[in-house]
Symmetry: C2
Subunit: 142 residues, 2 copies
C-alpha cells in the first residue's frame, strides 16, 4: 500500500514530473480498485469520493501509471481499453466469457516458462505478457 505510493512518487520525481493533487487522487483510486477498470469506471469512482478530476487528466495520467509499473493495460471490452493494477498482483491470464462478459483469472507459472522458451528461440525480449482466451464460462456453457 505505502510501497506503491512511494514507488510512484519516486517515478514522478525521477522524470521531473510534479506531484500534483490529480495525480495522487488518480493513483489512490487505482490502488483501491482491485478489478479491471476503464477510464469511465475510474472517473465515476473518483467522483463518488467527492474528489474531482477531469477525464482528460485521467487519460493523461494512465500512461504514467503504466510506465511506473503500477498499472497494466489488460484487455479491450466494448471497444474500451481496460486496465488493472499490477503491483503485488501475480501475473495471470484471462478467460473471457463471450456470453456474459465475465472475466476469470488464472495464474500461469508453467505457461510463462514455456513462452519464455519460445521467446528465447526467437531472440525476443519479453517485457509484457498478454495471455488469454475467450469462450464460455461454466454458467453460460449449457
Amino acid at each position: 500500500m505505502k510501497q506503491e505510493k512511494v514507488l510512484y512518487q519516486d517515478f514522478l520525481q525521477s522524470k521531473n514530473l510534479k506531484l500534483t493533487k490529480p495525480r495522487l487522487i488518480i493513483m489512490e483510486a487505482v490502488l483501491e480498485n482491485h478489478d479491471h477498470f476503464n477510464v469511465d469506471d475510474l472517473y465515476e469512482q473518483i467522483k463518488m469520493k467527492h474528489k474531482d478530476v477531469s477525464r482528460a487528466t485521467i487519460y493523461r495520467t494512465i500512461p504514467l501509471l503504466i510506465e511506473s509499473g503500477l498499472v497494466k493495460q489488460s484487455l479491450r471490452c466494448e471497444s474500451k481499453d481496460i486496465y488493472e493494477h499490477t503491483y503485488g498482483h501475480e501475473n495471470h491470464l484471462h478467460f473471457i466469457c463471450t456470453n456474459c462478459g465475465k472475466i476469470l483469472e488464472s495464474s500461469f507459472n508453467e505457461v510463462e516458462k514455456l513462452i519464455n522458451q519460445l521467446a528465447k528461440n526467437e531472440n525476443f525480449k519479453i517485457s509484457e505478457y498478454n495471455l488469454g482466451a475467450s469462450g464460455l464460462c461454466k454458467d453460460c456453457k449449457k
Copy 2:
C-alpha cells in the same frame, strides 16, 4: 484454396445470406493476404486489383468471415483492429516488438495443452486463444 471458398459459400447459404460480388471480392482478398491486415489494408489491396468495394461493406463483411471460420481477429495496432486469415494456418502466438512494430509468430502446441488444462480447472470452454507478448525483437534489443 478452393476448400475455403466452398466453406464460405456454404456458410452464407446456411444463413440465407446472398452470394454477392463484394462478398466474394473481399473473401478473395483475404485469402490472398497471408499477413496481418486491418480494414484499410484490405481496402487498398482490393482497389489495387481494379475491383471496388466500400469500406462500409468491408466492415460489414469481416464479421461474416470470422463467423465462417476463415478469419480471426488477432491484435490491435495503432488503435486499429488487426485480422489474419486462419483457415489452414496453425494456431500461433504473437511476439510484438514495441520498438519497430514487427510481429513474430511462434507455434504453441505445448502452451495450448497447458492452457486447456487451466481452462478445464475453471470449467471454461475455450473457443479462441489469444496469446502473445510484447517486448523487443532481436534487432531492436541493443
